[in-house]
């Protein structure tokens, strides 16, 4: 588990940006009773990707969230399609 401070340090991002990412649902850290957020390694990759898209494509956070959802969907469908094609060949 990684704290919010650690996430800011690792991803070189301001805390406000990370909180906006959480608000947009791009990452869903565990929230403890004291209100502390705890992130996982997978979240770091998502945060870095979101920050790249925000900075390099000049997108606002809402657009970043939408884009990441669509990219994730595209990658999943591409990979499913590839796997199904291989399986279909075994049947034919």
């Amino acid at each position: 588990m990684i704290s919010l401070t650690e996430v800011c340090r690792i991803t070189i991002s301001p805390e406000d940006d990370i909180l906006l990412l959480v608000e947009e649902g791009i990452v869903t850290p565990e929230k403890h009773l004291q209100g502390k957020l705890e992130f996982q390694d997978q979240d770091l990759v998502l945060i870095k990707k979101a920050c790249r898209l925000h900075r390099e494509l000049k997108l606002d956070w809402h657009a970043v969230a939408l884009m990441m959802e669509l990219l994730e969907q595209r990658d999943r469908l591409t990979s499913e399609n590839r796997a199904l094609k291989i399986r279909l060949e075994r049947f034919i």
């Binding site: 070189i12 920050c51 291989i86």
Partner: protein
Amino acid sequence: MEFKDYYQILGVDADADDKTIKSAYRRLARKYHPDINKAKDAEDKFKEVAEAYDVLKDKEKRAEYDQIRQYGHSGQFEPPPDWHTESNFYRHSGDDRDFSDFFESIFGGGRGGFRQEPRQRKGPDSETELAVFLEDLVSDHPKTVQFSFPGMNAQGQRENMSKTLEVKIPHGIQDGEKIRLKGQGAPGVNGGENGDIYLTIKFVPHPVFDIEKGQLLLIVPLLPHEAALGTKVIVPTLTDKVQLSIPPNTQAGSKLRLKSKGLPMKTGQGDLLAVIRIVMPSIETPQDKALWQKLADSIHENPRNEWG
């Protein structure tokens, strides 16, 4: 070094206004951004486009570049001996971009240029794909992987570095999941900590097995009589061979479960699903044909009933 024509890279005229430059950048950035475009050369093209925009969007840098552009329109380029930048080069927070030698020779920068910051800096993180064979998922041995990433030597010069690591593939990992290798990436600058390596797991298609939603699948071809009467067949798993009982009246597409013969999961061992495929034997002799005809005469089912 190679001269870079930033106007040509963005596909705009040398007298293009800021709006045109911004619009060209946004169009090309969307096209080549490595998070969007998976083509091999997309990342290099994006870097080129981003660098061109970095210069042309900034009045001071653009003016300096325009001046320099007169020296080398194409081919090889050396900055004038008394050249020094007027622009205030800095990196944005979280910005670990890799600028070209051409850019740094003009504007300096964070990598050996004369405006290099003396402060500590974490080494850049690297993201790469790791091809994983299904056999790796059931192995107890770590996988030996060689990585290469852009780094800097002790003299602060850029060079490609490589490293060999033993990577333990976690049980239950899925295709597309990421693994973070903390501190295993490029060395930091001025005593800064090493970067991390982020691996994206990519399952290599297997000649025999498939994976569906984390479940190991095996297509089991059967002859019609084996499916009709039931039989026992020896089937491969990822580690050995086991006997599978086929019950009578098994339909094509049926799934039979082989308990704990699949992939290791986060908790316990997954199952192997055997999916039945019916394979027609070739009918070559009149005797074969007569036998099939006899069978046909005794069956009164219509598999196309649903069509009405």
